[in-house]
Symmetry: C2
Subunit: 145 residues, 2 copies
DNA sequence: TAGTTTTCCTCTAGATTTAGTAGGAATTAA
DNA sequence: TTAATTCCTACTAAATCTAGAGGAAAACTA
């Protein structure tokens, strides 16, 4: 049940974008530096984010990315799904004929329920909530003596 | 967020075990045949199930496996965890020092919440529930004309 | 006791997925 | 025109998944 780095890095990049886009498009080079992720890898991730209508891009000098919608209107579900492809724990949920047992399989119902739980949780979290929490964490660090 | 075949086959095998063990230990060869999974692969899975105290084994002729506890006392969480190792969506939940950002990472809190949702769902499902549902599905099949 | 059945154990290996990197084309601002 | 930036297509090393082979150990049966 692990998320790939696509989802992990991608969500962090989106938070960074939400926090940084006040001054116009944000370059991948900035996100790469701040998040400690390779710029080349971010290119892949943002392709998916763009294809799924989550960000808009501006090419050329002083270009970059901005959120396609206000952060309050973007859920974590959308981000993770755009990057991970699907949140189904098992493939037979998308494609029942992968397994001839599908119709009589009790475990399949369990996985279906699990998928719903995961999705409803991620749908309940918006990017703006996450960005705000991130800001608070940065502004209220723990000081060591 | 996909489960491996370990968890998928393992849960099905446990359901099969719950349904078949009335007449004594169940051999892997039987489960393999019924579930369409290689016996050799089941050996691997049952090693983990046994190591985690979910099944007991009897070696030798007419040996096999039985549940270590009544099916009502075994949750899906235990089975999946035994086979999958961990249900953490990201590794930094188990080992915070994997990432220097852990202490100030808002996304980490999200993944922690997601892990809790997954676990509480799987803890709420017992093997006996699952076995009963499976039995009903078998006894009430859909007939095609 | 001998033979058979079954779990137990270690080692090996192909297939698939992950996590990137390389190199350059296209676009835009200055 | 130049520099900056996204966009696109390949390629690849490493990890993980999904087993399979071969035999040792244990226990039942005759």
């Amino acid at each position: 049940m692990r998320l790939s780095t696509k989802a992990r890095y991608g969500v962090r990049a989106m938070v960074r974008l939400a926090l940084s886009q006040k001054d116009g498009p944000v370059q991948l080079s900035l996100i790469a530096e701040k998040e400690g992720v390779s710029e080349k890898y971010l290119e892949h991730l943002f392709r998916h984010l763009k294809a799924n209508g989550l960000v808009l891009s501006q090419r050329g000098a002083r270009g970059g990315y901005v959120l396609a919608r206000p952060a309050e209107k973007i859920t974590l579900y959308e981000i993770v799904k755009a990057l991970e492809g699907s949140l189904a724990p098992v493939d037979c949920l998308k494609q029942a004929d992968l397994c001839e047992r599908s119709l009589f399989c009790a475990t399949r119902e369990i996985w279906k329920g699990l998928k719903k739980k995961i999705e409803s949780y991620l749908k309940s979290k918006t990017l703006s909530e996450l960005a705000q929490e991130q800001e608070e964490k940065i502004n209220a660090p723990i000081y060591h003596i």
